[in-house]
Amino acid sequence: MESHAKRIEGRHAELIAAEDVLLFVHAAITSTGQREFRSGEAEQRMSLDFLHEYVRVNYRPLYAASLALDINDHNAALIVRRLLETAGEVTAEERRTEGRLIAARLARLPAPRVYRLFRALRTAKVNNRRTRAIMRDWLAARPDPALDAVKYRSGLKCAARHAHLPLGHRGEADGDVGGELATELGDFLFAPRRRKRFATPLLDAWRRAHYEQGAVYELPFTVAEGFAAAHGIGRRAFLENIAPRMTRLERLRAQESARTLGADTAAADLTRMPLTRLASYVLGLSLDDRAARRAELTAALRAAARRAAGAQAGTWGRVAAVLDDSFSTTGSRQKRRRPLAVALACHFLLEALAGAYVPLWTSGRQDALLAHPYGPTPLGMRLLDALECAPERLVIVSDGWDNAPPGMAGEVLRAWRTRIDREGRTSVVHLNPVYDAEDFAVRRLSASVPTAGVRMAEDLPALAQLARFAEGRTGLAELRAHLDDRVRRFLEDVPDGAGGAA
């Protein structure tokens, strides 16, 4: 008897552990510590800090392993920082695993984020041997040190100081980079006036840009922007001349302002943009613009969705989606229309994944391209509409607030699950782009439907898989196996290009 009770207890503890870890993963996917529609920045940060602390202390290996999941960059940086801060708590063997995960994640993070992390480590006075080694390896893997030096000047300076990087000796160890560049970098960062001129063209352009307008256009866009302001160069002329130096995301971001200024820049190639980013861009356009450019925008979104769907395209069978475009999808000042952008991106991705596809927006509007945040969230009624199509899969993208009437969605799903579809012919998953700081979780619609946090629509297939665990039937062992699998693949995959610098 006793052993039986113990077994049940153990099983119970396992379920709780699995739940805790999932809770954390979904929070780490959605929350960026920024203001959301319903909660402020401070609440978000505090809530998130608590979760990090809790999971790190109680489930450290899983905490590190979550670096391999689709969590957002903010949380990835936080995890790395906390792991390095508390390196003394684990054995050498675990430290090695953590180190590999950290290195793999850093290689995928955008460079500014990593430099900010290094700065935070310096502020926190974290300077153990392992931290220095990680910083050194990451910096050594950067494709263009001169670009980093110009673009992230203070970041690189701070990192070099903190990790005691022997900038003068870099070149000798590295065959490709001339010794000249290595010593130059040291001078460039710490004593730029020591040299009359630099041999590396980019470094020299930075020197000349201080007094020569032409040199401004040889610099990366963000650096050139500052010099242009100092020289008093008009925005329009600046945008026209700097166009070839812009990255594709910079071009996308500047595109609309360039258009209003009448600057003659080549338009960004929308078909190459990532899906969610593109959806955000589309929602930033006015409704008139969207209607006028309907063909172009739709084609771009479809192309991005097809790319994201990859081999899975067309394999999902009959899919129905309930997409939230209520007023709360406005997001906040920091995350403008983010929930709606995720819903729009999911719409196009599901269209690509599905054989037959029925989208249902909560507002009742039909035209996805003209979606805008408006009105209440009658999620329950839309769910009924969706279930009437008898789909094989039902995907709900919503922030979990269901207010017309409140709780109707949960009731509909529960009644339907317990009375009508007991065999589970239709798989239902709820994706929530908003972290609810008060509940330390993404808000659920119903206990009978798994909920997963979502930040990029591109992760949808992986999240749908992860959401299985949230149903509460599977325990820690399965979750751990899933994580191990993800970690293995994560460490094997070589990231395409190190970070988003170029």
Binding site: G375, P376, P406, A415, I420
Partner: protein
């Protein structure tokens, strides 16, 4: 005596944030020939924004905004912006008392900035608050000449009403910010700690959208301020479907629809009952086309929830515009005594007899309620 007629407006499920519950009112058919818009007073020229002092610093009022009603005979929608204040004296309000600053003004055609449309400017709620006090001070049977002159000179001296700005009511700002406005919504009922704090109805959904944030700048009684401060979060009335009798999707749908209707019935009877059931003493203030602007007073029955307010009704008595202010118990008591006094021609003895108390007791009460000054004048 009449009731508020909210026909044409239907209730949608409430949205809850902390202690504040907002119940949207949706109009199936918007009224297009009466439009309201918000008027922002730039400076202290006429009524002033922020606190303004009137009549020798005796009466300080916060008048954050005013509404302008436009009406057109042909039923076409009127522009809801462009405003100008005028000095022209409009028709006299119901009490023959000349307020130092009139709270309803007709705007002359030539002066409006939107090209010759006439309009009526009025300050929401303020009118009703004034009406509450002014009602008995213009009493018909007693000669109040002396007091009237003093009031014109110095303002309404026995004024002790406290009101709080919406921004001070805890949680209201957030509740209004995250509230999801329904399509076709023309009004809202604001509950604080599940007590009806205010009702607000406008003719057209566009007006509502424009005026929704103005709820934050409105006046709320001190009771509401305290409820918000000390009351905890209120529960959401979540939908409930009992799954026993559901065998198909059609069953489920009808159950869901029933759920939705239930809320409507439940709300009107249970929550807004105090507002809708009471009979009001309605005084017409102004008439414009088929609409009339009136202010209403509750019966001042003791120990009941009571609202004062103002409304614009159409020819059939249906509400086109409504704004209410919940009175505190003390205000109700004060109104009650004034009411009784007025009914008996301000005769202390007769009133006391009717109330079943002694004359001295009535005097004590009147003194206690802050109307001592009145009695002294009467003597």
């Amino acid at each position: 005596m009449s009731r508020l007629d909210l026909s044409g407006l239907s209730v949608r499920p409430a949205q809850v944030w902390g202690g504040v519950r907002l119940v949207p009112l949706v109009r199936a058919e918007p009224i297009t020939d009466l439009r309201l818009h918000r008027e922002v007073y730039a400076d202290d020229e006429s009524c002033g924004s922020g606190p303004s002092t009137v009549a020798a610093d005796r009466h300080t009022s916060y008048i954050p905004h005013g509404f302008v009603a436009n009406w057109t005979g042909d039923g076409s929608p009127a522009a809801s912006y462009g405003s100008q204040l005028s000095d022209e004296r409009g028709p006299v309000a119901c009490a023959p008392l000349h307020l130092p600053r009139k709270m309803v003004q007709r705007r002359p055609k030539a002066r409006t900035s939107d090209g010759g449309r006439s309009g009526l400017r009025f300050l929401p709620l303020h009118l009703a608050l004034d009406g509450y006090l002014a009602l008995h001070f213009g009493g018909p049977s007693v000669v109040w000449e002396e007091w009237t002159r003093r009031a014109v000179r110095e303002g309404l001296s026995p004024r002790a009403e406290t009101a709080y700005r919406g921004g001070q009511v805890r949680g209201l700002g957030d509740a209004l910010r995250i509230f999801e406005i329904h399509p076709g919504q023309c009004g809202v009922l604001v509950y604080v700690a599940d007590a009806l704090a205010a009702a607000f109805v406008v003719p057209h959904p566009d007006d509502y959208r424009a005026l929704h944030p103005s709820l934050l700048h409105d006046l709320y009684g001190e009771l509401m301020y305290q409820f918000a401060l000390y009351g905890g979060p209120v529960p959401e009335f979540t939908a409930r479907i009992s799954p026993e009798h559901i065998t198909s999707l059609a069953d489920l749908r009808s159950a869901a629809e029933r759920c939705q209707r239930e809320w409507e019935l439940q709300h009107d009877g249970l929550m807004a009952g105090a507002l809708l059931d009471a009979s009001y003493d309605v005084r017409q203030v102004y008439r414009m086309g088929r609409f009339r602007l009136s202010r209403f007073l509750p019966p001042f029955a003791l120990h009941r929830t009571q609202h004062i307010g103002e409304t614009i009704t159409d020819g059939r008595g249906r509400v086109a515009y409504l704004k209410t202010f919940r009175l505190s118990d003390k205000q109700v008591r004060r109104g009650h005594v004034l009411h009784r006094l007025a009914a008996h021609d301000w005769h202390i003895g007769a009133t006391a007899a009717a109330m079943g108390i002694s004359g001295q007791e009535l005097m004590r009460r009147v003194r206690h309620l802050g109307f001592e000054g009145l009695l002294r004048v009467h003597r």
